[in-house]
């Protein structure tokens, strides 16, 4: 059973930057992002999501951050998970490649649940057996 997720989302303000992160607390995490802007401007969402066990997801994040280390412009205070200069599609493909190359027991979330928002969260969690 999956416990945690690895997610990507585009910069809602439109720059060529992508946020990567992991969570097991899905609603609070989206809530934190939604706090920064009105829903009238943007609904906080995860554009691409993978789910898996704790160990595998934690390891995946380490590998992705190492892979893009030089494109993570700054350290600390909310900066260290923003990857610059790569499109969401390119990073998504790289994450898929990493998962395959490492044989991670991680599943890519079906397109029908994406983008994942607070609105379609219940269906998503039920489908993947998440708490």
């Amino acid at each position: 059973m999956a416990k945690k997720g690895f997610y990507l989302f585009k910069d809602p303000l439109g720059t060529n930057a992508v946020k990567q992160g992991i969570t097991g607390s899905w609603e609070p995490r989206l809530g934190v992002y939604q706090n920064s802007y009105s829903r009238k401007s943007h609904t906080a969402c995860f554009n691409v999501v993978w789910v898996g066990g704790d160990t595998a997801i934690n390891e995946l994040e380490k590998v992705v951050k190492r892979e893009y280390n030089r494109d993570i412009e700054m350290s600390g205070w909310g900066h260290s998970e923003w990857i610059d200069n790569h499109s969401l599609e390119l990073i998504e493909a790289k994450v898929d490649e990493i998962i395959k190359g490492y044989c991670y027991k991680i599943v890519k979330v079906d397109q029908k649940f994406l983008p994942l928002t607070i609105d379609n969260m219940p269906e998503f969690k039920q489908h993947y057996g998440l708490k």
Partner: protein, 419 residues
Amino acid sequence: MQTVNLNAMQAYNKVIRANKVKNKPWNQKQAINTYIRQFTVPFDMDENVIDLRTMSENFDHKIIPLSEIHNAILTVLGPNFQTNPTPFNPGEGYVGYSGQKPKEYFDYLPWADDLVLWSVFQRDVAPYHVRKIYNDFDPTSVIVPCIIRITLENGKVVFCVWDGHHTIQVCRLKGWTHFPAWIIDLDKYTLAEIENAGFGDTIEERVLFGCYIAGKNMRRINGLMKKDLSPYDDFMIGYETRDAKIVTMMNILKDNNCTVKRHPVGAGAWSQIKSGYECFDLESVQGDKDGRFWARALAFHCNVWKAAPLTLEVYRPLSYLYQRANVQGITLPPSFDKELAGMLTKRFGDPESVHTLLKVSFWNALNANNGSLTGTIPTHDKERVLAAIINFYKQNGGKAILPPPSCQWNVENFLPKDE
């Protein structure tokens, strides 16, 4: 090879100026990224290490000017690291003092009664270490010993060695009559310097101050400020200067598309140098230590987890498994590797999960304390993972005969249910 065109110091100053203009706080990662962008071949740099081997690929003949490394160091240390910009040439004293020697100077000292050791600021001597250096002696590798020149209360002048005593003893055994020395002259210290360090205005106090200086320097050089040679640097220097064993190990790594790295980053990256020696040195039933078990374990790892760096806690137990099978006369056919790989990836996935979860299973079984785990309790992770792999393989219907594990338990029953 390409030569770096931009002046790194200019770029460094640009970052500092930009931060000042915009009133932004300095950010180390941002400064490092800006610095590295000048180079054709990017390289890792942080507080702990600047990867000079990769950095050197940006320079003709792979030779880096020290001034460029200096710039890289300043980039990492940042604007809060204050340096003293006053130009200082320690050799100028010879000229400026009408022939007088400066406070610190180089000289050759004879083997004489005034060449002494004051045990208050020197460690004990180790005869085995003298023998070790003697047997490995090469006059091109003598580091200059350090000495303090002290005028004692009775007016006698002595030269007290505070670093390099073993070296001097070995040089004497080799017949040297004079010894290179970097000398501190205690008599050149002013009273103000001595008093500022908490010592008084007497000859006895001056001598105690000399001991203080020598002792402090001895501890600085040999303890407090000593930077040990990292296993990675040792291995790479050994390889690039043709050490036979290390060249053999490198050939095994290359055969498996593995690369030596300081950190386990990238496909086939190998960073656990000391454990690599351990695996390489595993002895076959014929008494050979030729790295064959390590080579097979690396091949297993790289064939299964193509994008992953080499995981010590997987390839080391596998090396031991192959070695024990060999010693016990068990032949493990290539099909065994394929079969085991399939089982491990199906159940655990990536190599980190393999050893992490196998160890969790071991500890859960042990802590259950209900007789679920029998045999000899392993005291090291390599034995725990090895036993877990053997148990797991057998419990999943593995076809090959394997050496017996040191302890037995049902691996699956003690794995976390949600992993």
